[in-house]
């Protein structure tokens, strides 16, 4: 403000003297109050027509500490699995992001997110430039610049570019999300939380996925009201293991009731004997609770499902209000 008062004074003086004002070139040092050393690690690969960017950023030291978790996650996604560490908390998707993860750390939390990006020519450089500008780094101008920050690797048959940038940024610490999964659960030993890498599109939470074995998974979702009712969902689930009309009608008749802590649940057990291998059995649970319905599904090869059925039912029974 001092500069300004002085400048106005000069203006008046010049006005009176009738001369042109001529301000000098100023050189000064500024303090950036919010800037800190930050690191960004990201993986970019193509998925069909569009591209996928998985990015983790935050204070340099913290990101370095979690770098391996990110690499493992990227590898799992590339393998179409998407298993992530139990310490990560998945948040809801937005228009631009398929998923956000909140990663807590004693030195302040960081975030990791998965976004769909357009893949027009030069998209790799464009994204790097965008990230670089947030870290007070110059844009990529030559191939040498690009090689310095991006490393190409092959993961499960995909070309994945790992980008690593270190600069000064004003990133904000993510706030701890309110639990997007509103129920309290006890995760059985061996279940791993999972991001639906098969379906790389914005994923609606509240929902949870677990990888029980590489081939068997648990999927949980919630719909308002009765979610379409039993018949509709039996038909839908039947479709997932290619089960047809008559068998479904029979299965619908064999619905049993499971007493869970949240109320009575309906359990449907579907099996397609024509499928010899792979996913041929599905156990679906409808659990009405407070005006909406939870859908819990365990699906996989029949013997694996059988092996984990008790575990699954215990999980359903012990779900509690959050």
């Amino acid at each position: 403000m001092v500069v300004h008062r002085w400048r106005s004074g000069l203006l008046l003086l010049c006005l009176l003297a009738g001369c042109n004002r001529d301000e000098p070139i100023a050189v000064y040092e500024t303090t950036h109050l919010n800037r800190r050393e930050e690191r960004l690690i990201a993986a970019i690969f193509k998925q069909g027509e569009s591209g996928i960017a998985i990015k983790m950023s935050g204070p340099n030291a913290v990101v370095q500490r979690h770098a391996q978790e990110l690499r493992d996650f990227v590898e799992s996604v590339a393998e179409l699995q998407g298993v992530y560490p139990k310490t990560w908390i998945q948040e809801g998707a937005t228009e631009f992001r398929m998923a956000n993860f909140f990663i807590d750390d004693p030195d302040g939390p960081i975030s990791c997110n998965i976004a769909q990006i357009p893949t027009k020519p030069g998209f790799l450089e464009m994204n790097i430039d965008r990230w670089a500008s947030k870290l007070t780094l110059p844009p990529v101008q030559t191939p040498a610049d690009l090689n310095a920050v991006a490393k190409r690797t092959e993961l499960h048959g995909r070309d994945v570019h790992f980008v690593e940038l270190v600069g000064y940024g004003e990133g904000k610490n993510p706030t701890k999300p309110s639990p997007s999964f509103p129920l309290k659960d006890t995760i059985p030993e061996g279940w791993q939380p999972k991001f639906n890498a098969l379906k790389l599109s914005p994923q609606i939470v509240p929902s949870r996925m677990f990888s029980v074995t590489p081939e068997t998974e648990v999927f949980i979702s919630k719909l308002e009201g009765d979610g379409g009712g039993l018949t509709k969902n039996v038909v839908r689930w039947g479709g997932q293991i290619a089960l047809s009309g008559q068998a479904l009608l029979a299965a619908e008749k064999n619905v049993r009731t499971l007493k869970a802590d949240l109320g009575a649940a309906q359990v449907v057990d579907l099996f397609n004997p024509l499928r010899k291998t792979g996913m041929n059995r599905l156990v679906g649970v409808l659990l009405p609770h407070q005006g909406s319905t939870w859908f819990l599904v365990l699906k996989g090869p029949a013997d694996e499902v059988q092996e984990h059925l008790a575990e699954f039912e215990t999980y359903v029974k012990t779900l509690k209000r959050g």
Partner: protein, 444 residues
């Protein structure tokens, strides 16, 4: 006044020249005053003190204010203020004079192109002031019954002087702060600057500023303080960038706007029609020892700077709105944006801030700390500056408010209107009370 009214009668034809016979008070004809009345100064003042001149000046001001209002259909308030009210002469387009502010340039070219010169605010203001002072020297009685008039006129004079000082000395800027973050600089939307920024550390930058007054089309700025020479090929007060079509070749040879071209827009009509801010742009050639380093296109709207490496040092380069670094830091603890229930109407904007004064005085920081809530109609005043709740920073994805924009005003004359209206208001009360009591006495 009432007594004068009684002398008047309805008459046909123009009224007689009365401003001295009817209104000049009778003075005792001492030799001193006679001698005074002989001087040329008195004669000049007598002309200047004319009440008819007052009326004419009022009429001129009336029209200026009216046209200055209409002009805001086309121009932003700052442009209008500078051209109409804070100027000596203003050229007014015919369309405002005929009260047709919506007349299109294409349909009514003449209404837009013909501009008539007219006295601006400062000229009328100073004439009115002269008129007022002369009248008080020459004409007004120094008698207690006239105290009301004296007070009213003193008040008005203070108000006009205050407006003059405000126009000359007041400065305002915006401070944008995200919730949980701090800020220590103001941005001024009425001026730009061209900067080289060298990053020194996470906290420190070295900034080299070329002020807007040097950025004239065709000028070359050379200085030992600059890392290179700056030649301004074109400076546009208001412009926008357009992406080049396939066949077009751009002017710029370097930087991120290589595939853009600059389109100059008329001043004041702004890209953003609601706020009507000008967005300057410039075509700038950077060179070193006569060797061209690159031709760059800059636009004040863009957030990300260009980069250039000179002598192994990396600089960010940008044309940006003028910034002032403050000697205090404001930290935004919490920002609230409440709406009325089931409505989009804002009910409360509130910034809860902490101010930390880091001005170094006598070798150590002043170290004042202050916590305050700034909200609508509740500004914070600190050390000659006033902080107002101005607007919010919406989140790009969700539209939720994630930060505040404070308007920071320094106006050394801010108390003038308060003095002025107190004095003038009391004067009016006194004067009207005096006349009313006379009127009632007469009627009784």
């Amino acid at each position: 006044m009432i007594s004068r009214m009684d002398q008047t009668a309805i008459q046909s034809g123009p009224p007689k020249e009365t401003h001295f016979t009817a209104t000049a008070p009778e003075r005792s004809a001492t030799t001193w005053s006679k001698a005074w009345q002989e001087t040329w100064l008195y004669k000049v003042l007598r002309v200047l003190a004319s009440l008819r001149l007052t009326v004419v000046l009022f009429a001129l001001s009336f029209l200026l204010v009216y046209w200055g209002t209409l002009a805001q259909v086309d121009f932003g308030i700052n442009t209008v203020m500078d051209r109409y009210f804070r100027s000596f002469v203003v050229k007014i387009p015919l369309k405002f004079i005929v009260s047709a502010p919506w007349a299109d340039e294409e349909k009514w070219p003449l209404l837009n192109q013909i501009r008539l010169p007219y006295p601006g605010g400062w000229l009328l203001g100073s004439l009115l002031m002269t008129n007022l002072f002369s009248a008080h020297i020459i004409r007004f009685k120094r008698h207690w019954t006239q105290a009301g008039i004296w007070m009213i006129h003193t008040g008005i004079a203070i108000m006009m002087i205050g407006e003059f000082f405000t126009g000359m000395y007041a400065s305002e800027g915006q401070m944008s702060i995200l919730e949980g973050k701090s800020a220590n600089f103001l941005q001024h939307h009425h001026a730009t600057e061209f900067v080289f920024i060298e990053t020194l550390s996470a906290e420190k930058d070295r900034v080299i500023v070329v002020p807007q007054s040097k950025l004239r089309t065709g000028s070359t700025i050379q200085s030992s303080e600059l890392p290179c020479d700056v030649t301004v090929d074109l400076y546009a007060v208001n412009a926008k960038l357009m992406t080049l079509k396939n066949t077009e070749r751009g002017w710029a040879t370097a930087g991120m706007n290589r595939n853009q071209k600059l389109e100059v827009l008329p001043e004041g009509s702004g890209v953003d029609s609601s706020s009507k801010i000008d967005f300057p742009a410039a075509q700038i050639i950077l060179s070193r020892d006569g060797k061209e380093l690159g031709r760059y296109l800059f636009w004040s709207v863009l957030e990300n700077p260009d980069w250039i490496t000179i002598d192994g040092k990396k600089y960010q380069i940008a044309l940006r709105f003028q910034r002032t670094v403050c000697d205090y830091v404001i930290h935004l603890d919490k920002f609230t944006h409440k709406k009325h229930p089931h409505s989009e109407k804002a009910f409360d904007f509130r910034s809860e801030i902490r101010l930390e004064d880091r001005k170094v005085e006598g070798g150590k920081e002043r170290g004042d700390h202050r916590e305050a809530a700034i909200y609508m109609n509740h500004p914070m005043r600190y050390n000659g500056e006033t902080f107002y709740q101005s607007s919010t920073i919406p989140d790009g994805d969700t539209g939720r408010s994630i930060g505040t924009v404070l308007q920071v005003v320094r106006n050394p004359a801010w108390t003038f209107p308060y003095w002025s209206c107190t004095i003038a208001g009391l004067g009016m009360l006194f004067h009207f009370w005096l006349n009313l009591s006379r009127f009632i006495k007469r009627s009784a």
